[in-house]
């Protein structure tokens, strides 16, 4: 789905940031957090890619050009581009965690000296966004659960099979929690810095309700407990800082 914003909205999008979209169905009152997949700066448009999970996404998927939604955003911090510029970055996306990483790949492509390797994990041969990643990356590796393409298994199976961890400076990952846990562990073992994007059920999206926390290693600066708000301090965290 592509969202066009009112004239002169002048969006600024950091890759990894998300929006909160409100269903028009007034029985569903909370915003749906969806990450920006691509940002068209000139047209003030963003592209969102999502899985139909329930009420809200079902409604969105039925919408056509001309339908309107209330949207809040940009929300969250996103990936730190300056830290990644000029480095060798491995982008690891699993399933519906893949779309949020496309904007990152595209933006890193513009940074001189940055080499993006993408590892994308799919269920099967329905490899959405693969081409876009191929255009934006130095190389793309594929893993599929059913083995229909690339490495049979998950993204880390592909990383290991292809032996591509060696020259990686930074990992940027998004995907299901077991994958993120494995990456946190993998990155720790290999001494690679990993930024992971987390998901949690949200009510406000702006840091007010404390609904969306993740446990942190250290006391969080805002909350003064071992909890950081994913919507505000995240969704992108240094894997070493969170206790997942």
């Amino acid at each position: 789905m592509t969202l066009a914003f009112p004239k002169n909205t002048h969006l600024t999008v950091n890759p990894g940031q998300f929006v909160g979209i409100y269903p028009n169905d007034q029985t569903a009152l909370l915003p749906r957090p969806i990450s920006v997949c691509r940002w068209d700066e000139k047209e003030d448009m963003i592209r969102l890619v999502y899985r139909i999970a329930g009420k809200g996404t079902r409604e969105f998927s039925g919408a056509g050009w001309g339908d309107t939604f209330n949207v809040t955003g940009m929300l969250g911090n996103g990936y730190d581009l300056s830290e990644m510029a000029g480095k060798s970055v491995m982008i690891i996306g699993g399933g519906i965690g893949i779309p949020p990483l496309l904007e990152l790949a595209c933006r890193l492509k513009e940074k001189p000296g940055t080499r993006v390797t993408a590892v994308l994990g799919y269920r099967d041969s329905n490899m959405f966004l693969r081409e876009e990643f191929e255009n934006a990356s130095y190389r793309v590796y594929i893993a599929t659960e059913d083995g229909s393409a690339g490495t049979k298994g998950n993204v880390l199976d592909a990383v290991r099979e292809q032996g591509i961890a060696g020259n990686t400076d930074i990992i940027a990952a998004c995907g299901p929690m077991p994958m993120l846990r494995a990456i946190k562990c993998f990155a720790g073992e290999h001494g690679i810095k990993a930024f992971i994007s987390l998901e949690e059920h949200m009510a406000c999206g702006v840091g007010a309700c404390l609904g969306c926390v993740v446990k942190t290693k250290n006391v969080d600066e805002h909350s003064h407990v071992h909890n950081a708000r994913i919507c505000t301090e995240g969704p992108v965290f240094d894997a070493a800082d969170v206790d997942i």
């Binding site: 029985t27 009152l29 949200m202 007010a208 407990v225």
Partner: protein, 304 residues
């Protein structure tokens, strides 16, 4: 002529009757970018305890039909951080501040009350004896009239600001609780806190919230809240701040007609941060349209 929107609760004057409901507006800071805080009657802060609380495990929130469940578990940074960070921020705005106070034990409540005694920018205290999401204490104070009267009395003995006791709807007879708060010396009561509910994810056959149960809020519960406000208005003389599902000026007016002096917008701020401001503007429009010069005229004005 512009109608008068000012209300007075226990000697404190509010620009208009519309406040934010505790826990749904952070400390004001989070929404200050979206909302003009000076258009609110008051900012009511998230519950604050004597020390930082970590709250419950996630998932803490779940959407329901026309509402939501929450089991935040009163995560808060503790009164010290609150006083050094959040209060000074709010002092930058010309709006009243009501601090919501939580605790596990009498002593914990009193510690916070004492600590706030000299904070001039705090207009009132709202004592949350009704949170269903913390294991120990707290809600017992709110479900037993004797305990409620007692803790109210103890807090009143020490508090320098007027005290609002916030009641839980999870009781057989809300008017009995209102009377207990009044007997204990409360300056006002606020209601309703959330109604305990549960959601189960049938595909995964698991509870939607890590805490299993959570507090239900939102438009779904409004009829229950209006009923309780009406019952309390008939039972006590102290002012009432009404809340529970307010989304529009009409919703707020239902509460006021039922007997609330003030009203608060809770989860609907998540749906639209400007809800509270729009509610205030809508009440004013209503007064103009009905040729009512003072908002106080509609308090309890429902015809029998």
């Amino acid at each position: 002529m512009k109608p008068s929107m000012e209300i007075n609760i226990a000697g404190v004057k509010f620009r208009n009757p519309v406040m934010t409901a505790s826990g749904t507006f952070g400390s004001g800071m989070e929404y200050a970018e979206f909302v003009d805080l000076t258009k609110l009657g008051a900012v009511v802060t998230k519950g604050v305890a004597s020390v930082p609380w970590a709250g419950n495990p996630v998932p803490r929130v779940a959407e329901t039909y026309g509402g939501m469940l929450n089991a935040i578990g009163l995560q808060n940074p503790g009164i010290d951080v609150f006083c050094s960070r959040d209060l000074p921020f709010l002092e930058g705005f010309d709006t009243k501040v009501i601090v919501n106070v939580c605790g596990h034990t009498e002593e914990e409540y009193l510690e916070v009350v004492d600590r706030l005694a000299d904070e001039k920018s705090v207009s009132m205290l709202e004592i949350n004896v009704s949170c269903p999401n913390v294991k120990q204490g707290a809600i017992q104070f709110g479900q037993d009239p004797k305990c409620l009267a007692e803790i109210t009395g103890k807090i009143k003995d020490r508090a320098k600001q007027p005290v609002i006791m916030k009641l839980t709807p999870n009781v057989t007879d809300i008017s009995e609780m209102a009377r207990a708060a009044e007997a204990g010396g409360a300056d006002a009561i606020s209601l309703i806190n959330t109604i305990t509910g549960m959601k189960i994810d049938v595909e995964r056959q698991k509870f939607a919230l890590a805490n299993k149960t959570g507090g239900l809020s939102g438009p779904a519960i409004k009829p229950v809240a209006v009923r309780m406000v009406y019952q309390c208005a008939g039972a006590v003389r102290i002012p009432i701040i009404g809340m529970g599902g307010i989304a529009t000026a009409e919703d707020a007016l239902e509460f006021m007609l039922a007997g609330a002096t003030g009203v608060a917008v809770g989860m609907m701020s998540f749906h639209d941060p400007e809800t509270a401001v729009n509610v205030a503007a809508g009440i004013e429009d209503y007064l103009v349209r009905h040729n009512i010069s003072d908002v106080n005229e509609i308090i309890g004005a429902v015809q029998v």
